[in-house]
Symmetry: C2
Subunit: 303 residues, 2 copies
């Protein structure tokens, strides 16, 4: 089946590039789309059938599209904006929307795709760049049984684990948003705790060692506070991503009329960090909003 | 050495009982103290040299004391209150204060013990009842080199890992308090996230499965949200423990003049839960402060 399966991955950032390479490695005929010509060139060198800035060119050949762009505005622009992709897709093509978007946006996009006879899987992903590169992403997806079936070669190629949240579009996005609530608060509280330790004169390496071996640990603490120890704020995932994602959390809470005391506090912290000029730094740079402490410098600077 | 080593564990709750049993299993002559006669009887049956409500009886024979009572008030009452233990200890006896207390309290207690010629290790513990029972607690300790040496047989018996935070009394307590900041916020945000998922109609078992296999996981989420799924709020560790511990976090922040946006929010959440009558339930009962959702009932009730 997969020998003649044609897929296009749109958005060749760290996640999309990993997904596209995984599709190539799984033997799928793979196209890539990005506004960055270097990303397109890299994917061509990895064996893509084609790559460029305009997906309309490949549209008629596709069985599936994977969208890994930044937000709902970009998804809408690609599918329905100028040079809209949706009208050029064959009826029955399956579009896997893997950007983190709100449940409301997921529903609206699915409705518009349905008008073109195109299927949609509401399928956000998790796992970071390394897992994406290994074809080991986590996918939390909702959609019709038929859509899951159509996308099976893609899901097999890119995902280590697929959670089926049901048939209702929006449920996949909601699960991702609840996940991001946890991820965002965990990064912010990791920063808050390490900042307090710095203020109290506790060696941060010791604090890190204690927490990562005890019940106070989180995946994010262990991953992100290493960046703080290293004084390395090169963005793996940027502060502004959590301004966006905790904004989606907040939007979801408003829609559901539900209070989120911790998530709204964390959103304020990331917004302050972005406002202070750290928006494009690693999300662990939220720790820089705490004054009156000295944080480790970059290793090179200490030498 | 340990054949003639005499230790008394004061406070035979889940942690203290585990520590005392671990001392017995390591071949130390072990005494136990608790106001609950059943706990004393259980420890005698496990091989204790003695057990009762008054440590003064055993005091002159002791090389070491381990305090695992609830708070600084209890530590002070035992050491310096009516029937004060401190004046009855031999000079050079080492007291391991393993209750979670503030750095200020740790310093004051160490000073008063020093007036009796008694050594103190500022040595809070972590790991929960199961690890305590296995002699596998995590100890985060500060104190003089000599005190660590005196307590070596006890530390070997009760701890899987000993973090040496330095010689300054108060540093051990501060590390524990920073750890509790993380633990408390992680429980509260786990509750907040699961409550939002319930509100959005996401099956909680699915939400739990996704989070525990993704970057949004924390040790506390994985441990405590299982209680929510089971509808079982039998206290492993109670809401009121985090009212106390996040209170210590807040006190530490005030002393250091340091803002803690997330920890203070989480303290409000646990205080609300206690105020609503859930203080003695499992700390995961903080989720019950969210209205407008239906949580899983106890398994027995569903049958």
């Amino acid at each position: 089946m997969s020998a003649h399966y044609n897929v296009c991955v749109i958005g060749l950032g760290s996640m999309g590039m990993g997904a596209a390479r995984s599709c190539i490695q799984a033997g799928l005929n793979t196209w890539g789309v990005d506004i960055n010509p270097q990303s397109c060139q890299a994917l061509l060198e990895a064996g893509a059938k084609g790559a460029g800035s305009n997906p309309v060119v490949f549209a008629p050949e596709l069985d599936a599209v994977v969208l890994l762009v930044v937000n709902a505005a970009q998804v809408n622009a690609i599918l329905f904006g100028e040079n809209a992709l949706a009208p050029h897709l064959k009826p029955g093509t399956a579009v896997m929307v893997s950007s983190t978007i709100s449940a409301d946006d997921a529903c609206k996009i699915a409705e518009r795709l349905a008008q073109n006879g195109v299927l949609m899987l509401d399928a956000p992903v998790s796992g970071g760049a390394i897992k994406a590169a290994q074809g080991d992403m986590t996918v939390m997806a909702s959609g019709a049984e038929e859509t899951f079936t159509r996308l099976e070669p893609v899901l097999n190629a890119v995902a280590g684990k697929v959670y089926r949240i049901g048939s209702e579009i929006g449920k996949g996005s909601t699960v991702k948003i609840v996940h991001q609530l946890l991820a965002g608060v965990h990064i912010a509280v990791a920063a808050e705790a390490m900042a307090l330790a710095a203020r109290a004169g506790i060696p941060l390496e010791t604090m890190y060692d204690v927490v990562t071996h005890a019940a106070g640990n989180s995946w994010m603490f262990e991953n992100r506070m290493q960046h703080v120890l290293d004084g390395d704020y090169t963005p793996k995932s940027a502060v502004d991503i959590f301004v966006k994602d905790l904004g989606l959390v907040s939007e979801t809470a408003r829609t559901l009329k539900f209070p989120l005391p911790l998530a709204s506090t964390a959103l304020n912290m990331f917004t302050s960090a972005s406002n202070a000029g750290f928006g494009r730094e690693d999300d662990s740079a939220v720790i820089k909003t705490f004054s009156g402490i000295t944080l480790p410098g970059a290793k090179g600077e200490e030498a």
